[in-house]
């Protein structure tokens, strides 16, 4: 996972509340064998509507999402995070997130920041007045800035630390890499090795 400190990208005003994970990615896309390439699946049903915000030219490269309350509710599918990430989103802001979605996001490097409904409304208006406007996310200062609007956001400290350090579950384990290497150095020579492959008698 890459370290996340600050990021600037096109802000997307998604004026919807209760965006559940079935909306973020419908179940039909869960049969795939990859963990990437879900960009076409993101908001798949809504994207059939030419007027949907991500179908508008100004937002095609959108990467910072501002949504209504209760974002990411419903099914626990991790694919919802993969779809947002694959489309290019680096951060999502809402006044309220579903817990599981937030947890999944943290594991995949997607920032989920909580800002007030009043701040969301101000940012929506700014973005709508000037489509394609960029938003700057500062995870160190815990602020998001759009034009002259600067909002403080909340994120739990453990997740923030992991994002700043670029640590996923594997990354955390690899902090103990020296212990793993030390263990391997003592590993007895009789223990199994698959390579080089040995033929049967």
């Amino acid at each position: 996972m890459e370290k996340f400190e600050t990021y600037t990208g096109v802000g997307v005003p998604l004026r919807r509340s209760n965006v559940d994970t079935d909306q973020i990615i419908p179940a039909v896309y869960l049969k795939r064998i990859t963990k990437t390439g879900f960009e076409d699946a993101l908001f798949a049903a809504w994207r059939n509507d030419p007027e949907f915000i991500l179908n508008q030219d100004a937002y095609r490269n959108g990467s910072v999402l501002f949504a209504g309350p209760d974002f990411g509710t419903g099914s626990s599918r991790e694919h919802a995070v993969w779809a947002l990430r694959d489309f290019g989103f680096k951060a999502v802001f809402s006044s309220k997130f579903a817990d599981i979605f937030r947890g999944n996001s943290g594991k995949q490097g997607l920032v989920t920041g909580i800002i007030s409904d009043a701040d969301i409304e101000k940012i929506w208006q700014a973005l709508e007045a000037n489509p394609g406007l960029e938003a700057t996310v500062d995870l160190v200062a815990k602020t998001v800035t759009v034009a002259d609007i600067r909002a403080d956001f909340e994120i739990d400290e453990y997740t923030r630390w992991r994002l700043l350090e670029g640590l996923d579950d594997i990354g955390l384990t690899l902090r103990d890499e020296q212990s793993i290497t030390d263990f391997e150095a003592k590993r007895e020579s009789w223990r199994p090795k698959t390579l080089p492959a040995k033929g049967a008698q």
């Binding site: 064998i33 963990k35 594997i170 212990s179 007895e188 199994p192 698959t194």
Partner: protein, 473 residues
């Protein structure tokens, strides 16, 4: 430091501790052997690619194709697109990450849990993981072996370790001598019926006692294989001379001084006298009958000499309701003799019962006999090598003469990811491990049985044991 008496499982755990977890966080354990197959690995490899991580120890990793592989026409392209995609993804991933793979058509291809032991990679005192719940099979060697999820597969590929929470231990004591016609499969089905499908949850099981000591390695694998059906993530048998004899000379078994050092260590592994188990279960091998399931979970089993139970006789309301649902799905009436249940198909295969001893046992029963009219029998060896071995012994001819289908290796009808499925409403006597609704095909009905019962059933057309043949019934 005084050493307290330890169980087998605790010893293996302690010897793989990389980082001891503190304040309730999990321990980090080293993984000696990682087995990979096509179904649960693609997203794990994709995760590595995404993070730019290599596989830490390709030399402790091995892949084989089993769940999706066809058991006929293996030289032709796989018809099902999803299956073909998964297999092609595994081949591509193995090539990209430098992992040894045994593909369809390769002499070492087969069910992942048959291939590991056959190559001599599975050995006592090691940790084994695989993205498959039946990884418990390898515990038969005195290894700590468990199934893991796809995110854990990625974790092991990247770090060769796994964070694990401590477990409890349960001793399954099986004392006595099995009667003729009674096998390891009957022991484990009886154990699961006794403790229930959730009885082993949170535990590592250790199968102990004179009846277990007397079993061959392949029989021990059958027992450990179904630990997961009792809810346990792992099951183990202490290594002994039978284990060492089975291993010695296998392609990847230690050699020379390594062998001697290994054996010396392996001999220290059995549970110490005075070690405490968190739970104990006792089963009398002397009185055990062939065991079969009547319902839709592996705990719903009875003696073959018994009858279909009456849901009204279950005290627990959940068990009662489950029995009612199961009987409706299975289309069975309480009080029906198990031996009167007629089957359409007999499946001999799966990681539970597809090894050479299983095939020999079944062949010894059907040799020179006639298959019951209308019954289909499918024999699917666990690996390409098992198939070759059986052919060198002429077993394939015995099966073919009997009218059974002699197939190529794979998981096959155990879970029907390939075309080997039951039709809706079809009933099977199956040597596999799960009798869930729809497991062997939509609407399929499964009775779990031993290879001996499978063979006798194929002859008589109803659930039977070899003893029923002798009586001339």
């Amino acid at each position: 430091m005084s050493s307290a008496p330890l169980t087998l499982a605790e010893k293996v755990w302690n010897d793989h501790l990389v980082v001891k977890g503190e304040n309730g966080s999990p321990d980090l354990l080293y993984i000696d052997l990682h087995l990979v197959h096509e179904v649960t690995s693609p997203q794990a490899f994709d995760g590595l690619r995404l993070a730019g991580r290599p596989v830490r120890r390709p030399d402790l990793t091995i892949a084989t194709e089993d769940h999706n592989t066809p058991t006929v026409d293996i030289d032709k392209p796989i018809a099902d697109i999803t299956s073909r995609t998964q297999i092609e993804a595994l081949r591509k991933n193995a090539a990209e990450f430098g992992i040894r793979i045994h593909s369809l058509g390769d002499v070492d291809q087969g069910i992942v849990h048959v291939v590991g032991p056959q190559l001599g990679l599975t050995m006592p005192g090691i940790t084994v993981v695989c993205g498959d719940s039946h990884t418990s099979t390898h515990g038969a060697f005195g290894a700590l072996a468990m199934g893991i999820g796809t995110s854990e597969v990625e974790h092991v590929l990247a770090t060769q370790t796994l964070p694990l929470k401590a477990f409890k231990t349960m001793a399954i004591n099986v004392e006595g001598i099995l009667r003729p016609g009674v096998t390891a499969k009957d022991i484990i089905l009886a154990v699961i019926a006794k403790i229930g499908t959730g009885g082993g949850q949170g535990y590592v099981l250790e199968y102990r006692g004179s009846a277990i000591r007397a079993l061959s390695m392949e029989a021990r694998m059958t027992i450990c294989n179904m630990s997961i059906e009792a809810g346990a993530r792992a099951g183990m048998v202490a290594p002994d001379q039978i284990t060492f004899d089975y291993l010695k000379g296998r392609p990847h078994a230690p050699e020379g001084a390594d062998w001697d050092a290994a054996v010396e260590y392996w001999k220290t592994l059995p549970t110490d006298d005075g070690a405490r188990f968190d739970a104990e279960v006792f089963l009398d091998a002397n009185t055990l009958d062939p065991f079969v399931t009547w319902g839709t979970n592996p705990g719903q089993g009875v003696s073959l000499l018994d009858v279909v139970p009456n849901p009204a006789d279950f005290a627990d309301p959940n068990d009662k309701a489950a029995a009612e649902r199961a009987l409706e799905y299975m289309d069975l009436t309480p009080g029906t003799k198990m031996k009167d249940i007629r089957v359409d198909t007999v499946f001999l295969g799966s990681c539970t019962n597809s090894r050479i001893e299983d095939l020999r046992a079944a062949a010894s029963i059907i040799k020179g006999k006639t298959k019951a009219e209308g019954v289909r029998m499918m024999v699917v060896p666990g690996s390409a090598r098992v198939r070759l071995q059986a052919e060198s012994e002429g077993l394939d001819q015995v099966f073919k003469d009997f009218g059974a289908e002699w197939r190529f290796a794979g998981c096959s009808m155990c879970l029907g990811m390939n075309p080997d499925q039951l039709a809706p409403g079809e009933r099977a006597a199956s040597t596999s491990n799960r009798n869930f609704e729809g497991r062997q095909g939509k609407g399929s009905r499964t009775h779990l049985v031993s290879p001996l019962v499978a063979a006798a059933t194929a002859i008589r057309g109803t659930l039977s044991s070899p003893a029923d043949l002798e009586e001339g019934n």
